[in-house]
Amino acid sequence: MINYKRFSLENGLRVLVHEDKSTPLIAMNILYDVGSRDENPAMTGLAHLFEHLMFGGSLNIPDYDTPLQLVGGENNAFTNNDITNYYLTIPSENIETGFWLESDRMLELDFSQKNLDTQRNVVIEEFNQRYLNQPYGDAILKLRPLAYKVHPYRWPTIGMDMAHIKNTDLEQVKSFFFSHYAPNNAILALTGNIGYDLAFQLSRKWFGPIEKRTIQSRNLHAEPEQTEERILTIERDVPSTALYKVWHIGPRNGKDFYTLDLITDLLAGGESGRLYTKLVRGKKLFSEINAYLTADIDPGLIIVQGKLMKGVDIQQADESVNEVINGLQSENEIKDEMEKVKNKFESSTVFSNTSILNKAANLSFFELLGEPGLINNEVDAYRNVSHGMVIEALERYFNPTNCSTINYISTRKKK
């Protein structure tokens, strides 16, 4: 059981505190309710570029990292479709430095042209490193616009086109900051060696004076229902052919999220997952295969991806994946396997919550979903999934007309 308390400041900042005295450290997590889904389609990648700019100095502090390192702290951040999340760990005696740093960059950034120029280059190198200079790296870039035609999930967090990044100017950056970075659009979580009273007092002192801001309203067009199967074939000089299949699913707080999560674990949770045992070990069609949810807040995707063994026909591989998924409808062996993935989920939740950083990130995200109690209830939600619910979800989502497929064909000649 993870005990936590929460309160809100007058300016709308929500704060969650979980005390864990077994550690000398404190984790501080600040989640901003802004991600790549909030971007203008003509200027994608801004939310992520912004994350980089957040380390370039703020109104009263010319450099974010040095003062933190000077008190023994360490930090990082990530951006996804939905959120931008900043986190640090710090020896508890120096926690006030964390408040000073984080509140100052919420107050106002030092919008410097030099920093923008440098970080644009860094982001373009990041794009090259992650997506262009890796075999299969561009598959995910092709997958999104295949599955989404309307919703902003159609572009990746790093941006759909690096020209957008190159063209970003300081005015756009400023306006993005003031319409998304604000106490009333953020959640602060503190976990570790900190009591509630100190957390409350420091939050009020440092974040209290920051004024509320007007947040750009979110009017996202829902993705229309997909009505026919989509298949894209790409040829690349890679060692082996790969298969990517995605199906649209419901939103993160939809009633069948944990059912779908459990389905991906039945399929690909560990070495004993069905896709692995049947298609890698058994039929030897794939050298590796995986299944997972995107876990986006708006309706997301379930993704199955695998690399084929040499000489395997992609049609046969594709059919075998569908066969394994459909096999989950049968009672055969399912009871034990459901118990198995439930045990594993419980165990992995316990392990994840041994880290103060994970606890802080989870508390913030669950608060954003409107359900902070999920930090303690997720295991039950997952345990409550029945085979009937699995069958229902399979029937609802795993239809060919709801599916997009990429056949990523290797053009390499055999030796």
Partner: protein, 427 residues
């Protein structure tokens, strides 16, 4: 609301002195040493079995890693599927590792399942049968993974880096070729296993919530394992680096080139090592390091650049790693050398020393926070025959090292003529 807060920097408090809980140790009936580290709030355990069965012991490429991977592919009493299903059923996370010097398994689990975990561990470690069908299938998969990995410039670079440092014939150095995947047979594995996965060759490290009966249980499952042979064949205990210091591997169609610069060096057993660790941090060991500040934050040439220093049994090595676009890659190399030369010639200023001292002190707190970090920190000195006094020496050195000593270390250990420079990508 009035913004009347004076945004004055809070005081900097020195990071508390590190206190490291000592491991308790005892021996099983068969002599296997066991180390127990009590930590954490949850009723969980990290259980590591470590053997001197790494690559350095192999007489054929891939032998050590394949032997380790095949441990869970079938035993006297369980098929590979049964083993894996059982581990998953009890919510156990199993990591199999074969490194340059050592190999073994690490299990993470809820304490209530300890008996099952010990029973399965005994099967995996001491009763594997190396079935031929599973082996063939594993080697085909590994060949696929290998081919994909060899598409990545960073893998081509690091493989060549180790070959250059440690030589084409040493297990630390040789590169894997596609034909190597055809040479491993069940009997070779079985032979390697019999020689090196023995009580004389192993230790157990346990951390988490330790129960009264933990020791007794361990003894009842593992304490009666015997061994027939005693194999303390010495490994090849010298290394012979390649003569050629600069190697470029041409790979067309890349948008970034990989760079690895470094050399073999001292390991943890050497008294200069703590100082070298600090020098490495200043150069490229953290976000505020010189390489990061100059090459990423100032010039924007790369998404990431870092340096690190690592210890192996018979040597250590240091390496600077980055991926840089074609346009800037020569400039990045020049900047790397000029940062090294600066450290050899210009004393590090007081302010920068303070940052690195405090950052590293914080890092030391993180290294001993919680049962998993504690176990890893314990292992990484124990392997070298050292104990926690290494960490106290490091903590002391972090406080007391002065700029002259940094210059001295940079001159001794970063002689530019000794450094290998490996680059991969389009010319």
């Amino acid at each position: 609301m009035m913004n009347n807060l004076q945004r004055i920097r809070p005081p900097v408090f020195p990071v508390e002195k590190v206190v490291i809980p000592e491991a308790k140790s005892f021996r099983l009936n068969n002599g296997v040493p066991v180390y127990l580290i009590e930590a954490g709030t949850e009723d969980i355990m990290r259980l590591e079995f470590i053997f001197k069965a790494g690559q350095v012991k192999e007489y054929l490429p891939l032998l050590a890693s394949t032997c380790n991977m095949m441990l869970s592919e079938g035993s006297q009493n369980y098929s590979s599927e049964e083993l894996n299903r059982s581990l998953d059923y009890y919510g156990v996370f199993l990591n199999q590792t074969a490194e340059k010097d050592s190999a073994g398994i690490v299990l993470f689990f809820l304490n209530k399942h300890i008996e099952k975990v010990l029973e399965l561990s005994r099967e995996i470690l001491f009763r594997p049968v190396f079935p031929e069908a599973e082996l063939n299938s594993l080697m085909k998969k590994r060949l696929h993974w290998h081919m994909v990995n060899r598409e990545k410039v960073q893998n081509l670079a690091i493989d060549q880096f180790f070959e250059s440092l440690f030589g084409k014939n040493h297990p630390y150095g040789y590169q894997i070729r596609e034909q190597d995947f055809e040479n491993i047979t069940p009997s070779l594995l079985s032979d390697f296993h019999t020689k090196y996965y023995t009580p004389e060759n192993m230790a157990v490290i346990i951390s988490g919530k330790i129960h009264n009966k933990t020791a007794e249980l361990l003894n009842s499952y593992i304490g009666n394992i015997g061994s027939n042979e005693n194999n303390n064949e010495a490994s090849v205990n010298f290394i012979n680096g390649e003569k050629l210091k600069k190697v470029h591997i041409n790979k067309s169609g890349t948008v970034q080139n990989a760079i690895r610069i470094g050399s073999a060096t001292i390991n943890k057993k050497h008294p200069d090592y703590p100082g070298l660790k600090i020098l490495d941090s200043i150069l490229g060991g953290y976000f505020g390091s010189r390489l990061m500040k100059n090459i990423r934050e100032e010039k924007g040439y790369t998404y990431s650049i870092s340096s690190s220093i690592s210890s192996l049994d018979i040597a250590g090595y240091k390496v600077i790693s980055t991926e840089v676009g074609q346009k800037n890659y020569q400039k990045a190399i020049d900047e790397i050398y000029s940062e090294i030369m600066l450290l050899q010639n210009v004393p590090v200023k007081k302010e920068e020393m303070a940052v690195v001292r405090n950052y590293m002190s914080g890092e030391m707190v993180r290294m001993f926070d919680g049962p998993f970090a504690l176990a890893e920190s314990f292992r990484s000195v124990w392997e070298f025959g050292l104990d926690n006094s290494y960490y106290y020496r490091l903590a002391e050195k972090i406080k007391t090292i002065d700029p002259d000593e940094i210059i001295e270390l940079a001159r001794t250990y970063y002689n530019i003529d000794d450094l290998y420079e490996i680059t991969v990508g389009s010319e």
